[in-house]
Symmetry: C2
Subunit: 377 residues, 2 copies
């Protein structure tokens, strides 16, 4: 095999199209040890400026990319964050994930995303999978069916930073970022009161979920503040689907003294109620003012447009990442649990304010629009 002619001295193997170059390759090329390479790249003080220059130049030349697996294995800390959400659809979770990924990326982290499908067993498996992947921290929004929290204790025993968002474990022993749902319910109801409504009904979601419980609480708070009685006959409980909103409104309209305002704890239910009201010949908002919750895209398409509460999805993601990174940087110890509460924003539209009925020109925001006009070849 070996050519008799003394050409090509075994070729220093610049790996032209080969796979990735490692620190060992650089070390060989420069005739120094891997220690030097590693320390030069991480700007260690024990490496002289001249050597650092040479190493950096060579690394650039070969387009060296550190193997983060190896680094993480050695250091015991990876540059990976885990997310567990019930699902990646609709408006809320994708937006939060968007915020999370953006913030994490800025800090040099990649995110692994998992869906629990609202199933506790799957949620548990997700956590194990993330543990196995050696993530540096985990962000969780609870599955609807989760009623046992031991799998999270296990994480804490391992000292793994953990932050809940939106759907959180109750109590102040955990790190959490939530929307002030009570405030959202309060703002929404107070707005209806300010519009002169006096019989305000409420479409409430499942009360075992903190978000719906708090929205209901805000509703009652606003009524009490206005000196109005809490009338349970004006509160309908269901699962907040569109058709259930319509059904609920039929119930309410059958009352001897039907409401003139309605705060629905979700936009889908609000939409159903709106459509049912119109079917029954009621004018919205004149005869019945309606508000929803979540600022779904379609609230701008319905006629009238629907007053709703914005949940600050992206801010929630960012805040969650900030909190998680703090824990990671603090080494996990000596960090007392913290809860971040975001203020919701009431978005007033046509379904609750007669004056604003000319909503025919409102623009529905398409995520892609942010980029139109971008330079393209």
């Amino acid at each position: 095999m070996a050519s008799p002619k003394k050409t090509e001295p075994a070729a220093p193997a610049p790996t032209p199209t080969g796979s990735s170059v490692s620190m060992a390759d650089l070390a060989r090329e420069l005739g120094v040890s891997m220690t030097t390479i590693s320390r030069a790249l991480s700007d260690h003080h024990s490496i002289g400026p001249a050597m650092k220059q040479k190493v950096l130049r060579l690394a650039k030349k070969y387009n060296y990319q550190p193997n983060r697996l190896a680094s993480a294995l050695r250091k015991g800390k990876s540059k990976l964050l885990g997310i567990v959400v019930p699902y990646i659809e609709g408006r809320f979770f994708p937006s939060v994930v968007h915020g999370i990924e953006t913030a994490a990326s800025k800090a040099g982290y990649n995110v692994i995303i998992c869906q629990s499908n609202e199933d506790m067993a799957q949620e548990r498996r997700n956590l194990e999978s993330l543990l196995s992947a050696q993530v540096a921290g985990i962000l969780v929004s609870l599955a609807r069916t989760t009623n046992d929290f031991r799998h999270f204790d296990k994480l804490r025993n391992r000292g793994l930073p953990l932050v809940f968002f939106d759907r959180v474990v109750e109590g102040d022993a955990v790190n959490a970022v939530v929307l002030d749902d009570r405030e959202g319910g309060y703002l929404s109801t107070r707005h209806l009161l300010q519009q002169g409504r006096r019989r305000i009904a409420h479409l409430a979601g499942p009360q075992h979920l903190n978000i719906y419980k708090n929205r209901r609480q805000g509703y009652f708070d606003a009524l009490r503040e206005a000196g109005l009685p809490a009338d349970e006959s004006l509160v309908v409980y269901n699962d907040m689907a569109q058709e259930q909103g319509a059904e609920a409104l039929r119930q309410l309209l059958a009352l001897p003294n039907p409401p003139d305002g309605l705060f629905a704890a979700g936009d889908y239910a609000a939409l159903g109620a709106l459509q049912e009201a119109q079917r029954q010949g009621l004018r919205v908002p004149e005869d019945l003012a309606i508000t929803g919750f979540s600022n779904e895209t379609f609230t701008l398409v319905a006629r009238p447009t629907i007053t709703t509460v914005d949940q600050r999805c992206e801010e929630m993601g960012q805040a969650a990442v900030r909190l998680l990174l703090e824990m990671i940087d603090n080494g996990g110890e000596g960090f007392s649990p913290r809860q971040v509460v975001l203020r919701p924003e009431l978005v007033v539209r046509g379904s609750s304010t007669p004056g604003d009925e000319d909503d025919s020109h409102v623009a529905v925001r398409n995520p892609a629009d942010k980029f139109v006009g971008s330079p393209v070849a």
Copy 2:
């Protein structure tokens, strides 16, 4: 230090609340080598059934979780897939990601998600980041501004499996999963023809994007098939935002011979056109039949509901993962590039069919509804 009393023989260290247990811990406990543990866990033939049982039992007892970093480092193949999308918002990308994560999870893979923000430089950085994380394969939907594809060649040189979806590199040298946009445009236009429309206009998107070019092609194909001339004065080009849809319709209605049908290559533009038509006193669909593209959630909320084309988001994600896993399992070599083309589905609604005008009861699908009624404590 050593206690004189012979109590506690150095304690076999069952790591009660300690961090994670490793194979070495199991090996020590059982008095065998790590080789045996490793092979027992991976069901290697060289380990006897009795030993396998013992190892598995102990692993379960200590809740052993393999360190996938170490495994991947050694094997050179991780259980990670990378996704690069322009952004995680709106309806399309989250749904595709949903499909991807579901399929990947089923195959034992976790996914790392990255956003390019429609920026080629960011897209390049995303790829390097994923390379650095040693993913086993990458799924990409191109950024709008990407006009240079060398960063993808680099991946191929490293032998890293790569699959494009939706926004793909043209040509048959790559693996790709796309919707048959031409077919979508064809079906949509043919549907309008079947409704008796003869002057059908088209709102077309940026023609440098394959998806819009193909939808336009389908439009022309249907017209030709019906023996109608291709009239460029009936085609308006813009960026497909809602307001641009309205503006485009104003142009078309100002024509000496305005259209009686309109195929918009996007739902946002279709919505804008619909609203503009109604502002101008036209009846939809009687005076002007309209169809959109993408099956956005709000197409069910608009009145009339909007006929549109469903893009099979989840199927696209699943198909992309299937293709990628095939490449990974095949070792990368001897795998000839393949393109998967998904058939779009025309969803006929009120904006194009006078008969179906009673759309006041259509239910808007809330992702969360899949889970209502789930068992809850």
